[in-house]
């Protein structure tokens, strides 16, 4: 980020519009903003942070909107304050504007209209512009708010880095500026992701698909066998029938048995007819039972109809006066006879009571409809239960007939088994044996068909379960891959996290040493610095001994400055150093050393100085690097500050 310009509008003591153009010349990379105490240097310095991050503590820093602008505003009219910053980043130019509006509610009070708003626009070289949608996130991406305090700071307060017991602050600064936290967060999050995968994988226990496949295979094999056996049984059945028919034929050819055979054929025919009739009656019974629910509910239907009829006879259904009619009278405030209905009057109270007792039109219609439907249902039901009873009697008679015909066939067979002709006895015995076998085969066929149906259903269920399990297994295989990848990525970050942090710490130490040695003045007792593994920033005296506790406030400021510049250089962060009161605590020697060396070490330097800070030699040191210079002038009469360009 390189700052190009800043525009203030009614910001703090800066009334109306004030502009500053920062120097972007590489050889003249210093911008000086002069101002006596109270002229607005600190406000201007804080304007950077407010514009970019919206950070402003009104309790400690006072109100943002210019008081004169509010004072001059009519009541209930919006007063706007804004800070606009134009900067370049990675070859692109951006304009960031933060705006806050207040409204004057009385001569001495005003209220903010919501929070401040930020807009960010990218401007291309050809003049095209594009609004950045998530402006705050984008700015955080360029220069995180956690890093900004190391680039926009108060020179008199930066010595904290080297005070004893501030290792955490130093560590935090290194972590933030060098984005070590990016790696630490990635390590933490990848570990969490790998654990999630592991947990998910565990819940998808493998082996289920294998078990389902074995089960289906078993069922399929049994089905194949059952179907094969069914075919065999059907063949056996056909054979048995054929043999029985042949024996019947042979028996019919024997003259003395002919009469019995004819009788048997007749009984068999009757028996078949009875069985068909019994099946038909049973189907009718089932149908009647299905339709008999109305008959079963008849006592309840009759009771409900009676209740509704009684209500109708008493005039309750439908109600004499409709709810809507009463409501209309109340609303109109006048009866149909033109009598007024005033709220609180006896007429009004009477109508209100009627309204409470009345039934809604919808309910009335539903009840009337229901009563009609119930009567119609009761009339059309017929005597279903009587019909069922009749059919059951018919079925019982048919079963008696079947028993009788069966017994008759048994008797005929028994008679033939004891017939006085041996051939007849033998043929009947054979026929009976085949008949028994046929019954057995038919039983087997029934059981087999039933089993085949069960197996078909089991196979279908298995197939569905297998398909589900295959999806699960596929997901498990992918989970395994994801787990492996997340674990390897986590291990890689884990390995590199500490290595990177240590490497960066060493680089900062080396860089800070070089800068410190350039900044240190010859009278100083302190010659070297080191950044220990626990992030303790130590300074060594000319004898190489730790001497941090002996540093003056000014010396601590120089050391902190060396550390901050080292961090920025190691991070390769393209950001300006914006320092308020940079030399306030420094004596002449360090001041000269800093002004001589720092501009060369930075891309852009913006200094907010008092008239006392830049003494002759220090100014001479900076002079060749100053690309822009301004003065803040405070007008006691108007209570406002203005920005004046000096060169």
């Amino acid at each position: 980020m390189k700052l190009e310009s800043m525009r203030l509008y009614n910001f703090r003591q800066f009334y109306g519009e004030q502009r500053i153009r920062f120097s972007v010349d590489k050889k003249k990379n210093v911008t000086i903003v002069n101002g006596v105490m109270g002229a607005g240097k600190t406000s201007l310095h804080r304007a950077f942070v407010w514009c970019l991050y919206g950070e402003w503590d009104e309790q400690t820093r006072g109100q943002i909107v210019n008081k004169r602008a509010i004072n001059e505003s009519p009541l209930n009219v919006k007063v706007e304050t804004s800070v606009q910053m134009v900067f370049t980043h990675a070859g692109e130019r951006y304009t960031a504007v933060r705006t806050l509006q207040v409204v004057k509610t009385s001569e001495s009070t005003w209220q903010p209209l919501g929070e401040s708003g930020l807009s960010l626009t990218k401007i291309t070289l050809s003049g095209q512009h594009e609004t950045i949608r998530n402006a705050q996130n984008f700015l955080e991406f360029i220069l995180p708010s956690s890093v900004s305090p190391y680039f926009f700071f108060d020179g008199e307060q930066i010595d904290e880095f080297v005070k004893p017991g501030h290792e955490t602050k130093v560590k935090s600064a290194v972590r933030n500026v060098l984005r070590i936290e990016v790696l630490e967060r990635a390590r933490h999050h990848l570990d969490a992701v790998a654990r999630d995968y592991q947990k998910d994988l565990k819940s998808r226990a493998s082996g289920r698909l294998q078990l389902l496949l074995v089960t289906k295979e078993g069922a399929q094999s049994e089905l194949d066998d059952a179907q094969k056996r069914l075919e065999e049984l059907r063949t056996e059945k056909g054979l048995a029938n054929k043999q029985i028919e042949e024996l019947n034929e042979r028996l019919r050819q024997i003259e003395s048995v002919k009469e019995w055979e004819e009788k048997k054929r007749g009984v068999q025919s009757q028996l078949q007819s009875c069985e068909k009739t019994r099946e038909r009656i049973w189907a009718e019974v089932k149908d009647l039972v299905n339709r008999s629910y109305v008959q079963m509910s008849m006592p309840v239907i009759l009771k409900a109809t009676k209740l509704l009829d009684e209500k109708r006879e008493r005039g309750e259904i439908p109600p004499g006066i409709r709810e809507q009619f009463i409501q209309d009278l109340i609303n109109r405030g006048e009866c149909i006879c033109k009598r007024p209905i005033i709220e609180g009057s006896p007429e009004h109270q009477h109508l209100a009571r009627l309204l409470q007792r009345s039934v809604s039109t919808y309910l009335t219609n539903a009840v009337v409809q229901c009563a009609g439907d119930l009567r119609s249902l009761a009339a059309n039901t017929g005597d279903t239960l009587g019909q069922i009873k009749e059919r059951m009697v018919e079925k019982a008679k048919m079963e008696d007939d079947i028993d009788a015909y069966s017994q008759e066939l048994t008797d005929i067979s028994q008679h033939l088994l004891q017939f006085d002709v041996e051939e007849v006895r033998l043929l009947e015995k054979k026929r009976k044996d085949h008949q028994d076998r046929l019954y057995s085969i038919i039983g087997d066929i029934g059981r087999k068909e039933e089993r085949i149906e069960v197996l078909h259903r089991a196979i279908e269920t298995s197939q569905r379960d297998i398909e589900k399990a295959q999806v699960t297994e596929k997901r498990a295989r992918r989970l395994q891959k994801s787990l492996s990848l997340a674990t390897r990525a986590h291990e890689a970050v884990d390995r590199m996290c500490d290595v990177f942090a240590a490497d960066m710490r060493k680089r900062i130490q080396t860089e800070a040493k070089q800068i410190f040695q350039r900044l240190v003045w010859k009278e100083s007792q302190f010659q070297d610095i080191c950044l220990s593994e626990d992030y303790s920033l130590e300074v060594l005296d000319r004898w190489g001994l730790p001497a941090r506790r002996e540093l003056s406030a000014g010396e601590r400021q120089v050391l902190s400055l060396a550390f901050i510049i080292a961090m920025a250089r190691v991070a390769g962060e393209e950001a300006p150093l914006v320092v308020d009161t940079p030399f306030g605590r420094l004596s002449s020697a360090p001041r000269q050393s800093i002004t001589k060396n720092i501009p060369e070490l930075l891309e852009q330097l913006i200094l907010f100085v008092t008239d006392e800070e830049l003494h002759k030699q220090a100014r001479q040191n900076l002079e060749p690097r100053i690309g822009a210079e301004y003065e803040l002038r405070f007008d006691q009469e108007t209570g406002s500050a203005t920005v004046a360009q000096l060169n």
């Binding site: 790696l183 969490a192 992701v193 992918r478 994801s482 990848l485």
Partner: protein
Amino acid sequence: MRDRIRDLFKECDADVQEVLAKVLDLEWARLSLEKPRGIIDEIKNIVDAQAGGDENET
């Protein structure tokens, strides 16, 4: 700095490098948030896409 961090992983397998490049970009973009919501799911999507991509290739 982003490139320098990315360079740390140039010796890793290509799929790990791909995942880390995307994850680090994501972490970088959310650095200002103390507890970035939904980042675990976003990282899972990155890992799944890479793992799935490998499966499709094979």
